[in-house]
Subunit: 259 residues, 4 copies
């Protein structure tokens, strides 16, 4: 069909129960709306601002939960990797490997991800131009893997803010399918607390503008209790708001795909 696809789930895998609970809800909603869906969860958070931030429940434990979600609901899964050696390990459990934005320039990591043969989703660095993502995608394709995706998640705008430049969507679609990460795009980094802030009230605005600008997919982190999530709570979507938002976006997509 002509629908957009969705990468969604909690920021970090905090445990099996929460992962299954979130997955179950999103699977139900996306099936109803005919949105191709990939469950997202990080097995490790490697780049927190502060050393005392939550980093995970254990790599293998979290990866096994990702596999369980996949088997239980028959959905593909995505997780992010941080060192070359993560690539082969994570590839045994998930379907899509994600390169974090801060690491989008690390050639060895991109090549290691690519060589697993999995789909590779490269987040655009907050310090990179849309045009420079051409070189990032080439690092995947020259390794013989044709399944690169690009995810926009905002560009640095002053020290404590980010902005999404929608001019970059058509530019990056020349290189690979483009996803808009609507929750991280609303982050406000470098806050003095050492904890990244955000503006979740704008998730709908961001997502609608993205669909109108022609993105192929959306990425959004969600949790049934964002205030108590162990990471990125400041910008996640409350799970209870997901169906209403996706319903609107599907209607929007239908019009846009007719242009």
């Amino acid at each position: 069909s002509n629908n957009f696809f969705l990468l969604s789930g909690p920021c970090a895998i905090e445990g099996e129960d929460m992962a299954l609970r979130i997955a179950e809800h999103i699977v139900e909603v996306t099936q109803k709306l005919k949105i191709p869906y990939v469950f997202k969860g990080s097995f490790k958070k490697a780049n927190r601002s502060r050393i005392d931030s939550f980093t995970g429940i254990g790599d293998e434990k979290a990866l096994k939960i990702l596999r369980k979600v996949s088997e239980t609901f028959e959905v593909p899964t995505i997780t992010d990797i941080h060192e070359k050696s993560d690539a082969a390990m994570a590839a045994e459990y998930v379907d899509v490997l994600q390169i974090p934005a801060f690491l989008a320039r690390q050639t060895d990591l991109l090549v290691a991800a690519s060589e697993t043969g999995k789909v590779v989703n490269i987040k655009k660095g907050q310090f990179m131009s849309p045009e420079s993502m051409k070189h990032a995608v080439t690092k995947i394709t020259e390794t013989g893997n044709e399944q690169a995706m690009i995810t926009e998640r905002g560009t640095m705008f002053g020290y404590q803010d980010m902005v999404v430049d929608f001019r970059g969507i058509p530019t990056m679609k020349q290189y690979a399918p483009v996803v808009l990460d609507v929750t991280h795009s609303l982050q406000q980094p470098n806050q003095s607390s050492g904890v990244t802030g955000g503006r979740p009230a704008l998730i709908g605005t961001m997502a609608k503008a993205g669909i109108a600008a022609g993105v192929d997919g959306l990425f959004m982190e969600t949790h049934f209790d964002p205030a108590n999530a162990k990471s990125d709570g400041a910008n996640m979507l409350d799970l209870s708001l997901l169906e209403r938002l996706l319903t609107d976006l599907v209607a929007l997509r239908q019009v846009v795909s007719g242009f």
Copy 2:
């Protein structure tokens, strides 16, 4: 109705024939599409990068052409003013006074415009935040004029580029109706030539994202021959592309206004 409105016309009034020709076409298209329309034309260009740039055909001559357009096609008109003394003069000829982005902080100019009783369209300075437009609107309302509008036209991003921050649309709608200037938003200023550049191929992307984000109106400069326009040719929409674009935007608006 629930449609968006349109401010459109050439950048500068170069002469009567071109103004009438452009107005006639836009009037025809917008009537068909039921888009409320205001004809736009500058009677003077006061802030060119270079001293040898085109600045106008004479103030009164240009203002009279604006009036003629208004009378011929029964449409309201808008023009931009640059000094206090322009306000009363221009108000005799047009329906909406526009404050240029560079001048959005000049209190005397805003107050002079406001005191004419006309609608005042304040362009957001390239150096201003969406939140700071609250104070600009207050300068109008405290003079007793309730007809302020805000136009987004991009924010400075590095020396030679601009970016539209769509997070600002809902923010500014709290203060006044919000227009997206899709052609100036695509400018690339401070080029070494002393002539501002632009990316007109992205006009459609920008306009669609704006409608999806909830703007009340669109602003776009257009010309039947952008390459030979006397100012801002680098980012104007070719008049022949207008109907196709507006048709899509009206369809998009219909969906969005149902959310």
Copy 3:
């Protein structure tokens, strides 16, 4: 000599006593340190964020105080103008006309200032590149006035911050003498209060870096009681700190001018 020159005084002329008191102190210090000195004071503040900000004590009254300072201490004076008609009026009272940063692209204003024959100090717009100041200076020189100066006062960096790009100093020195405005460079605009913030503790760092980078002059606003100044109190230098700072800067300049 090889010393730098100094443009300094209060932000706004609040009255005769305060102007004379500030001038007297700066004249004494700069004579001791052999720094060519120009007294600075605004006769009107035309671009405040909020409509209820202080704008002045009356144009002619303030201009007469500027003349009195000049006659009393035998120093030249500088003030900023905002509309074409201000140029000839202010030129009767002061020696240097200053174009505010927000107005650096207003051709008519630059030409009007230039045609008075006075020195014209153009502040670089917060939205302009160093290279684009070439065109601003040309607007002065093509009117037959060879006495243009450029003042750097920071460039927009995100919505609420400014940054000084020291790479621009050598670039702009190709076009005209370059001044660093160390107090406005430390402003933080667009604060939610509608009152511009600042970081005056960094005035010394900024001034020293400027001298080392080769500026021809420094601009700094000062007041004997910054907390009670009627405008820009957030970033002015306390007058009691001036002598110590200038003494260091003269020593630095001596070394730098020998390179």
Copy 4:
């Protein structure tokens, strides 16, 4: 003494002869000028824009050359690491481990570097605020290592430019000794060619402003033939210009350290 220290050498270790030749010259100059000196060379370039960029001559081979430079000239050495496993390996050969700017948020990498007991030089991410470097330094000190340093190398300013914010120098000196990387600070990233550009003519301006602003050390990449260097040729200092520049900087430092 009160002198600044210098981290300098080629960008990448291209071979033994070039490393020794560059080291010999810098050692001679810095001994004459009494500048504490650390030889810098990368054993691997892991984050090139393009996949076909030069990445190194082999890790162990390059590290052994670093040791040879150290033994030959009795100078400490510094190299940058990219994955946790690099830390212990590189620590066998060099005295200072450097965290690349893109990786400044990778907690595991900082901790691994810290646990070697070596000095750790963290480059400020192009996407980080000066204030956020406090948290980066804490990641070192909480591991029990008190020898962190911070290196400023510019902050993203639009897509294709960087700017050094000198306000950050005093801020970051609160957390650790601060170095200014004058050559990378002049980079212009994301060029359409996929090769980073630069403005080496401004190295002197940048270095002088840095010393005046109070940095503890300078970092500069140099080569006897920048045009033929295998990486970062666009912004390196020609080795033949080093002595003249350092001589000026030592004189400047002497004045500044007396303030």
